[in-house]
């Protein structure tokens, strides 16, 4: 290289710095994007690799349907290359925060999968825990606050219910982030709303049910030597996985046997115990019965005694009574007799009285006669005139009267005596009777008293007897009840025993799941995303390279053309082609290398950072991505851009150099004006205004530029359109899928092993709910659909009723847009998967189910769908093709209009029902997808921004070349008096039109997306 020539090169750069910079910018953009995009995926992998290594994240995880034990750990640790094996407990629990149910994943701090402490300290004692940072902010909690966790009791191997934790009241002592949950989505749970809201870590000591591990984590020896997700890493881990798979069956069987043994022993023990108890109880009952019998007979005896006593007493008293009555009668007789006698006596007395009266009358007469005689006598006695004879006769008469008087008086006295005697007699008799009466009375009184006391004694005896009887009856009843109870208990115990025995036979054979890191949703999704980024990186920079090559070509061609005189002069002076070309090659190379290196240094740092920033919306990991200057990638980028730009330069220079110096030294004849094809179509041409005609001619005058503008703009437009297209597609995916196609609101997974009756009962229950409009029963399984070499995973949906899908899942033919019904022995397939595997209506495909059974079936329709892939088949078809009995496992539920809270509570209610294994709500699916979509939006923004940048560089460059090449023409029209605006439009109108053409014939969005055919992004969108 001659010194002067080199000087010239350097000066050239200084003079045409704009052109130099535009080429440099192209190289910058090309290499920057290439390097940056290509490096992002490995950088992302490096970041997660580093993150996982720092936190000792597992290589292999083992889960079992029946939990894992210390023996399992022992067995596994005997396998080669196992460095660490940790058995741990992971369980879902519910936190009650201000009456809101919050579902949490509870994990223990272990040697592996160490959480990263952000604040505070890790839990040391039983009653401490650490939480996620946003748990505190969202729920207004602080470190030091206490939360209470509710975990369902668990069963130990003996089948006893035990509490899961020692302490359910936990003090928050810090915040952490978990390497196991790098995705913001925490996964699903069988509790509460079905979605895990947070995770918390507790100390392992707090686990009460520590006998059974829920999960084993394994760190494979030397796995840190490989980068995670790399082929080497995966091969290495796969080997260890295989070793574990080898002992899997043995461990499963052993676990099963152990559980059966324990259960059997227990059942046997229970049985013995039960039998003894039964005997005891029976004996007791027998004894009680005996006692009651005894009581009964005693009562009988007492009763009969009592009766005898009573009878005896009755007889006695009757006799006594009779005697008394007889006595009374006798007395009464006596009295009567007495009365009669008295009467008689009284009659006698009255007779006597009469006689007495008579006597007294006689006496009176006598006395009278006597008194008269005496008086006569006295008179005579004194009168001696009367003869003494007369006097004697009178005296004799007196005497006789005296005598009669005496006789009468004696008679009266006699009568008086007789009366007195009689009266006396009667009196005596009366007294006698009275005495007898008195005595009788006494006797009677005595009798009454005795009777009373005897009977009251009898009465109380009777009462006592009654009481005893009642007591006995109560006792009897009690006994009866007890016996009943006992019988019931026995029946129950027997049923339990039977059940327990049945349970033993029902103890399932556990299944081990030997999983790798991909089982972690976050990791899986992240690695897939790195794949997406890589795919974009494959396609995206190509556009830049093409445009860069084109731009440099025009720029350098123009440069060479401008300097043709100088080239001619140099050629005339005797410089050879290489020496002349070297100036331009140096110029271009400098621009390339400088731009490329700049591009690399910016691209390697900036692009991964920006992409990382976007992914941080979805992933919670480290804040910064591991940036690496990947020299291979950078080198390839630089080489590519150099090939493009320097190649273009050499092409331009050589094109000029072949001409003779004389030709070169003359100014290049301006490009000839030419008529364009359009002029021949006079009816169009005539209608064009003058300036339009000029523009049309100009467009076709510079073919290279024409092509370049179109290609460049096309590329940019493609990027922008793809960007917006992705955005558009993303935005309409969800309404399309979840309103047009899936019209249901919830999908309920039924538990395995429900029989038809239970299922129907449950469904009827659901249908009765006012919130629910429709329930569709279906069978949903995961299948693989195969056409030649293409395979895709699909979900096979078989509704129970032939055409019951309508209104729940709407099948619409892609072409005819008509509603489709399921045909016998044919299937409907969704459009995207049909396109992916390359089949259409009427073709036959192979379906492979999870048991690797393959069937051939014809496609009756290709139906619309937007998210994931489905195949629909009628029940008849299913039974015909698979020859299996049809069994439903999923319910699609369509709700009536519900508010969000109503749906939430309905979902919680359904989740708590024992028939339900899982529930997924369209609204949650939508919000989850929404998050994914949001992060994609950023990719779209990058796409759009960089496409805009590219478009700017392309148009700037083109306009520059355009103007400089036609500077004389522009000068002319300026001289002619074109206003500035007219000049601008004169020169830019072509570019505008070319740009418009470029936009118009932009690559169809689908074609562009086909480039991303197998990326996750495309799968989502296509």
């Amino acid at each position: 290289m001659k010194k002067a020539l080199f000087k010239d090169s350097v000066k050239e750069i200084r003079n045409t710095y704009k052109r130099f910079i535009s080429i440099l910018l192209m190289a910058f953009l090309g290499v920057g994007f290439f390097a940056g995009m290509r490096a992002t995926s490995p950088d992302m992998v490096d970041t997660i690799d580093q993150y996982y290594k720092e936190n000792q994240v597992y290589d292999i995880q083992i889960l079992s349907t029946l939990g894992l034990t210390e023996e399992d750990i022992e067995a596994i640790s005997k396998i080669d290359n196992i460095e660490t094996i940790v058995g741990t407990y992971e369980i879902d629990g519910i936190l009650d925060i201000e009456n809101k149910e919050v579902v949490t994943k509870i994990m223990c701090i272990e040697e592996l999968n160490q959480p990263i402490l952000l604040q505070g300290k890790l839990p040391e004692s039983q009653d401490e825990c650490v939480v996620e940072e946003n748990f505190l902010t969202t729920n207004n909690k602080e470190i030091g606050d206490t939360i209470e966790i509710e975990i369902e009791n668990t069963k130990n191997d003996e089948g006893e219910e035990i509490e899961y934790l020692n302490q359910s009241k936990l003090k928050i002592v810090g915040t952490v982030k978990s390497p196991l949950y790098i995705l913001r989505d925490r996964g699903t749970s069988s509790l509460g709303s079905g979605k895990i809201d947070y995770y918390i870590y507790i100390s392992k000591e707090n686990i009460k049910a520590s006998e059974i591990y829920t999960s084993l984590y394994i760190k494979v020896e030397n796995s840190e030597k490989y980068t995670t997700s790399s082929e080497k890493y995966e091969d290495y881990i796969a080997k260890v996985k295989e070793d574990i798979e080898d002992i899997k069956e043995e461990r499963e069987t052993e676990r099963h046997n152990k559980l059966v043994d324990i259960a059997t022993t227990k059942v046997e023990e229970t049985e013995t115990e039960f039998n003894t108890e039964k005997q005891n109880a029976q004996q007791q009952i027998e004894e009680a019965k005996q006692e009651i019998e005894n009581g009964k007979s005693e009562i009988k005896k007492t009763e009969s005694e009592l009766n005898t006593n009573k009878k005896e007493s009755d007889t006695q008293f009757t006799n006594a009574y009779n005697q008394i009555q007889t006595a009374k009668k006798t007395i009464a007789q006596n009295e009567t007799q007495l009365a009669t006698k008295e009467q008689e006596t009284n009659q006698q007395f009255s007779e006597l009285e009469g006689q007495k009266q008579d006597l007294q009358t006689q006496l009176a007469t006598v006395e009278n006669s006597l008194a008269q005689l005496e008086t006569q006598y006295d008179q005579m006695k004194d009168s001696p005139d009367i003869p003494e004879e007369q006097k004697q006769a009178i005296a004799t008469q007196i005497q006789s009267l005296e005598q009669s008087k005496q006789t009468i008086e004696a008679g009266i006295t006699q009568i008086n005596n007789a009366i007195a005697t009689g009266k006396q007699e009667i009196e005596n008799a009366k007294t006698q009777i009275q005495n007898a009466k008195n005595e009788l009375n006494n006797q009677e009184k005595q009798y009454e008293a005795k009777k009373k006391s005897t009977y009251s004694q009898l009465e109380s005896a009777k009462l006592e007897l009654e009481k005893a009887k009642t007591e006995l009856e109560t006792g009897e009843k009690e006994l009866e009840q007890k016996q009943k109870e006992f019988e019931e208990k026995i029946a129950q115990a027997e049923a339990k025993l039977i059940e327990a025995r049945e349970e033993i036979t029902n103890i399932e054979n556990p299944t081990w799941y030997v999983l790798d890191r991909y089982s972690n949703t976050g990791y899986n999704s992240f690695i897939q995303d790195t794949g997406s980024v890589e795919n974009i990186a494959q396609v995206f920079p190509i556009v830049f390279f093409i445009v860069a090559a084109l731009i440099s070509l025009t720029s350098m061609t123009r440069m060479v053309e401008e300097q043709r005189t100088e080239i001619g002069t140099l050629k005339a002076l005797g410089y050879n082609k290489l020496q002349i070309a070297s100036k331009y090659i140096i110029y271009a190379s400098l621009a390339c290398i400088l731009g490329g290196i700049l591009g690399m240094s910016v691209g390697f740092v900036l692009i991964p950072k920006i992409i990382w920033m976007m992914y941080q919306m979805m992933y919670q990991m480290t804040d910064s991505i591991q940036i690496s200057f990947n020299l291979t990638i950078g080198g390839i980028g630089l080489l590519l851009i150099c090939v493009c730009i320097i190649g273009a330069t050499i092409y331009a220079v050589l094109k000029e150099l072949v001409q003779t110096p004389a030709t070169l030294m003359r100014p290049k004849a301006p490009k000839m004006g030419k008529r364009v094809l359009l002029e021949k179509i006079s009816f169009i041409w005539k209608r064009l205004s003058f300036s339009q005609k000029v523009t049309v001619r100009n467009i076709f005058r510079y073919k290279k530029r024409f092509l370049m503008t179109i290609i460049g703009i096309l590329g940019c437009t493609a990027l922008i359109v793809a960007g917006f297209g992705i955005k558009d597609s993303i935005e309409c995916i969800m309404p399309n899928q979840f309103e047009k196609v899936f019209d249901y609101d919830m999908q309920i997974g039924l538990k395995n092993g429900l029989n038809e009756e239970q299922k129907q009962e449950y469904i009827t229950n659901l249908q009765e709910k006012t919130e629910i409009q429709k329930v569709l029963e279906a069978n949903v399984t995961y299948n693989t659909v195969i056409n030649q070499e293409n395979e895709e995973d699909v979900q096979l949906i078989v509704p129970k009723e032939q055409n019951d899908l309508d209104g729940v899942i709407n099948l619409t033919d892609v072409k005819t847009k008509q509603k489709v019904e399921l045909q016998e022995n044919e299937i409907c397939i969704t459009d995207k998967v049909a396109e992916l595997i390359g089949v259409k209506q009427g073709d036959t495909i192979t379906l492979k189910d999870s048991k690797d059974k393959e069937i051939q079936v014809k496609i009756s329709n290709v139906v619309e769908n937007y998210v994931e892939h489905y195949i629909y088949m009628s029940k008849v078809t299913y039974e015909n093709l698979y020859g299996e009995t049809y069994n439903t496992n999923v319910l699609f539920i369509k709700n009536n209009d519900l508010s969000e809270e109503q749906e939430e509570s309905l979902a919680t209610e359904i989740m708590n029902q024992s028939e339900v294994a899982s529930i997924s709500r369209i609204s949650t699916v939508m919000s989850m997808l929404d998050d994914t979509m949001k992060s994609l939006n950023y990719v779209v923004i990058i796409l759009i921004v960089s496409a805009g940048l590219l478009a700017f560089v392309v148009l700037y460059n083109l306009s520059n070349v355009n103007i400089s090449e036609r500077i004389r023409e522009l000068a002319t029209i300026k001289v002619l008096g074109f206003y500035d605006k007219e000049v601008y439009s004169y020169v830019t109108r072509e570019t505008v039109i070319l740009t418009a053409i470029g936009i118009a014939i932009r690559i169809n969005r689908r074609i562009f997306l086909k480039l991303l055919y197998h990326t996750e992004l495309a799968k989502l969108i296509c």
Binding site: M672, G673, V694, V975, G977, F978
Partner: protein
């Protein structure tokens, strides 16, 4: 440098004067703002260059139309082309025309605007003797027939006798102004 072209440029509103004033048809050109200058160029001035400066992509007629479409009192392009004697080459592109023909198109383009001033910068500099003469004839005829002020710049003093007025430039200043009482017809001039 004599200052001829600069004077012409200032006169044509393509350049601005640092001092002094230029008055064209009682319009002070030196005072005009950019937009007024353009208007002035557009309506009052016609230009003819040494290298014709035709738009390569336009036919002869279209090059004329390029000028007429922006002017108010423009002449009919076809008639103007006829006047310059190119009626047969009207639809040819510049590259299909000889130098003289191209210069005729340029002149047609300039006069089609019906300008007050027709400024010609070395109009025959790139032409052979015979063609040059024809062009000069065309210019003189235009001035005579159309009553148009035509300014021709040339380094060839032999041409001076054909002008009505001759301004001599030396070292950037007008050194002498002389008026030809009897301008010579072009045919009689030899150089």
């Amino acid at each position: 440098m004599h200052g001829k072209t600069t004077t012409l440029n200032i006169l044509g509103g393509m350049d601005t004067a640092t001092s002094g004033e230029v008055i064209v048809d009682s319009k002070e050109v030196t005072r005009l703002k950019n937009k007024e200058l353009i208007k002035y160029r557009r309506e009052d001035i016609g230009f003819v260059f040494q290298f014709y400066n035709l738009v390569q992509n336009l036919t002869a007629k279209e090059n004329v139309e390029l000028a007429t479409q922006i002017c108010k009192d423009s002449l009919n392009p076809e008639e103007v082309i006829k006047k310059v004697g190119l009626e047969d080459r009207m639809n040819n592109f510049p590259s299909q025309l000889s130098g003289g023909e191209q210069q005729r198109v340029a002149i047609a383009r300039a006069i089609a605007k019906n300008p007050k001033l027709l400024l010609c910068d070395e109009p025959i500099g790139a032409l052979d003797y015979k063609t040059g003469k024809q062009i000069l004839k065309l210019l003189q005829d235009t001035a005579r027939k159309e009553k148009m002020t035509v300014l021709i710049i040339t380094h060839n003093t032999a041409l001076a006798p054909m002008a009505d007025k001759v301004i001599h430039f030396k070292n950037g200043t007008a050194s002498a102004i002389e008026v030809n009482e009897n301008p010579m017809p072009v045919e009689q001039i030899e150089w």
